[in-house]
């Protein structure tokens, strides 16, 4: 029974990682901007859910409806005020700009809400399904299902809609896309906004599962970078499967070998994949040189 429990726990954890990574891989894949403030965006989402629940008892899933437009606006502003001005300025400018946003957000949270850690305490947050001898956390299961659903929806969006196809065109060849009258700036704006909404949603869904504090984004942010590179830059399916692989590796190595080495093990898998398949599991070979090839 313990094996089943380990697989369930690994998949649920992987779902969490995937959910966080989807927005990052989208922004990474299209804008080629490494958003180092990604973890802090997640933290903002978690605090948003916490305060909506704490102040007005708004259930977590309902707060997603309220907060998604707010996140869209937030993404819009961050793109317009900062990211847009760093496009084409070189890696160093983008790194410092996004790290700067992260530091500002983290410290603003600290000033506003102190360094105390908080949890959403409700019957829902503690809900458990007991299937046989296996414990399944309901909020984690929901996060997992949403991760799969968001991946599917983005897949459909990118493949079936004109806007999605335009985004893919920009990924394959920005110059040619511009020649086809695709407004690059608009595509970047759209993508950054969608990516921000994804991570905001992730923050809201994870809020009932983890202690919330200003520095929580650091740990999750690091894992999501591993997931994105492992899955292949810009690949939605890669982010999902990459997340699940990291989750399973972490739980199994932590259980069978040593808990303090679990991160070392998923980094080992990460290094192995990069050596054997530098483009990641679902990335296209040479994508890092000529563009990211495909975005599915």
């Amino acid at each position: 029974m313990i094996y089943v429990q380990l697989v369930v726990s690994g998949l649920l954890l992987g779902g969490v990682y995937a959910l966080i990574s989807i927005g990052l891989t989208l922004i990474f894949g299209v804008l080629r901007v490494v958003n180092f403030a990604h973890g802090e965006f997640l933290m903002v989402g978690m605090f948003a859910a916490y305060w909506l629940f704490q102040l007005w008892q708004i259930p977590v899933y309902l707060s997603a409806l309220v907060m998604l437009p707010a996140f869209a606006l937030f993404g819009y502003l961050v793109y317009r005020l900062v990211i847009r001005r760093t496009m084409g300025q070189g890696d160093a400018v983008q790194i410092f700009a996004t790290v700067g946003i992260g530091v500002i957000l983290q410290n603003a949270a600290l000033v506003l809400w102190t360094g105390d850690f908080r949890t959403i305490r409700s019957a829902y947050a503690d809900a458990i399904w007991r299937v046989g001898g296996v414990q399944v956390s309901v909020p984690l299961l929901v996060a997992f299902i949403v991760a799969v659903a968001v991946t599917g929806l983005l897949f459909l969006f990118l493949n079936r809609t004109m806007e999605g196809k335009a985004i893919r065109a920009v990924v394959q060849d920005p110059i040619a896309a511009m020649a086809m009258a695709i407004n690059l700036d608009r595509i970047y704006l759209w993508t950054f906004t969608i990516g921000t909404c994804c991570v905001g949603l992730a923050g809201i869904l994870l809020a009932p599962n983890y202690p919330i504090f200003p520095a929580i984004g650091i740990s999750f942010g690091l894992v999501s970078f591993v997931v994105v590179v492992l899955g292949g830059l810009g690949s939605m399916v890669g982010a999902l499967l990459g997340g699940l692989i990291i989750g399973l590796v972490e739980v199994f190595s932590g259980f069978f070998i040593a808990t303090d080495l679990k991160q070392a093990f998923y980094f080992l898998v990460f290094v192995l994949v990069l050596v054997l398949r530098p483009q990641g599991l679902f990335g296209q070979r040479g994508a890092e040189m000529v563009g990211f090839g495909r975005l599915v």
């Binding site: 313990i2 429990q5 380990l6 726990s9 954890l13 969490v16 983290q106 410290n107 600290l110 102190t114 360094g115 105390d116 850690f117 908080r118 949890t119 305490r121 503690d126 458990i128 414990q135 956390s137 983890y210 202690p211 504090f213 200003p214 520095a215 929580i216 650091i218 740990s219 999750f220 894992v223 972490e250 739980v251 199994f252 190595s253 932590g254 259980f255 040593a258 808990t259 303090d260 679990k262 991160q263």
Partner: protein
């Protein structure tokens, strides 16, 4: 016109110099550096530690300050990690010219910051960091007012082998114990002390596991412990990892008969605030909080009450062991050491500190004071500092052992199963 310009310039410069003089020097102030992790992972503890330190400053200044009316002014530094601790200490010493620094909530910060103080030959007054190696580097400018890891970690094992053994009716040699610790400077040192003591006492140690306090998930650790079915957990967590571990233990149905933590994240108000009823019954071999007033001298009894009142007014909660350490250690410095030293010169402070010989109950948290000579093992450590055992009861921490200091009786031994809790 040209002349007028010069006059204005000179006047402005003189004004600026005067302002600068007022801002830095002043003969009516005693400037002391403080270093705490005010931001980052340990911010909750750092801020609480600073608050305890600052309440001591407030009380002493209200009573007239030191050395015939000089007010104490803090020059604060924020050190979220060890690199920042080193940089900020250099800043405090070279730019701000402080000659004494109080810290630091975290063993890791204490470790790094005290090394800079030592190089610059200024006193580092540590009220918190428990890791044994802090005072085992032969430093000559370090004073550590609190108990060390051997006291808290070892104390946890002793509590399990004595009180819990009796209450649960399991002989120490039959008691299955799991030792779990975060793998930073603090947890590794406390975990090692707990493991060593449990082994010495002949207990069945079924696990000795480290984990990263920054890990966003601890489910593999919880599942491993669930398989091993220990009777008692001895745990050293530093921050939110304590909440994460215990809430995942609940979700994954890890049931044990008792938990003895070693302060850190298991002893701060946020632990109970986040876990609610789930926190009740958890023991912690911890720094003394509000001890039995009978164990204090009349002077410190009044001081302890004053501290509780002011802390509640600022934070809205009763102070935990961490805040008590900060307050008690800083009051000791301001009320006993500085008046005797007469200045911030390191040699004077050393002489004053080593001259102290105060019985138990002399510090606000019930400890006594006798610093071990810098030439000896554990040099600079207060040998009369001790750990007590506290327990979470209805959202508050109460001292339950040893009997002399206890204010409350233990509850929930053995701990009910999660399925039987509300």
């Amino acid at each position: 016109m040209k002349r007028a310009g010069w006059v204005i310039m000179t006047g402005l410069l003189a004004g600026l110099l005067g302002l600068a003089q007022g801002a830095t020097a002043s003969n009516h102030e005693v400037r002391i550096g403080t270093i705490f992790p005010m931001t980052g992972h340990m911010a909750f503890g750092g801020n609480e530690g600073f608050m305890g330190t600052d309440i001591a400053r407030e009380i002493v200044n209200e009573r007239g300050g030191v050395w015939g009316g000089k007010k104490i002014v803090f020059v604060p530094a924020d050190a979220p990690d060890q690199t920042a601790a080193t940089n900020e200490m250099n800043r405090l010493i070279s730019r701000d010219g402080v000659k004494l620094v109080i810290g630091s909530y975290s063993s890791a910060i204490a470790f790094a910051a005290s090394a800079v103080a030592e190089r610059n030959r200024i006193i580092f007054w540590e009220n918190h960091g428990v890791a044994d190696p802090i005072a085992r580097r032969g430093f000559k400018y370090l004073f550590k007012t609190n108990v060390n890891a051997t006291g808290t970690g070892g104390g946890a094992a002793v509590w399990a082998a004595t009180y819990l053994s009796r209450t649960l009716n399991i002989a120490p040699k039959d008691m299955k114990v799991a030792v779990v610790w975060e793998d930073g400077t603090y947890g590794a040192s406390v975990g090692k002390a707990a493991f060593t003591k449990a082994t010495e006492l002949g207990m069945k140690v079924v696990a000795n596991e480290g984990y990263s306090a920054k890990s966003p998930d601890l489910s593999p650790l919880v599942l491993k412990l669930k398989e091993l079915q220990p009777d008692v957990l001895l745990v050293a967590g530093i921050g939110q990892d304590a909440v994460l571990f215990w809430s995942q233990a609940k979700k994954l149905d890890l049931n044990v008969k008792a938990v003895v933590a070693t302060s850190g994240g298991w002893g701060v108000p946020d632990f109970a605030k986040n876990l609610g009823e789930g926190a009740n019954g958890v023991f912690s071999s911890d720094f003394p909080t509000e001890v039995n007033p009978q164990a204090l001298t009349p002077k410190t009894r009044q001081l302890a009450q004053e501290f509780i009142k002011r802390f509640k007014a600022r934070k809205g909660t009763t102070p935990t062991g961490n805040a008590w350490l900060a307050f008690s250690g800083t009051m000791l410095l301001f009320e006993e050491v500085l008046p005797k030293a007469g200045s911030l010169e390191p040699e004077s402070i050393k002489q004053a500190a080593f001259s102290l010989d105060l019985p138990e109950g002399s510090m606000a948290n019930g400890c006594g004071v006798k610093f071990i000579s810098h030439d000896q093992f554990d040099g600079g450590k207060n040998e009369r500092a001790f750990a007590v055992v506290v327990q979470w009861q209805n959202g508050e921490v109460h001292v339950v052992g040893p009997e002399k200091f206890a204010t409350h009786k233990s509850i929930l031994v053995p701990l009910p199963k999660w399925s039987d809790r509300k």
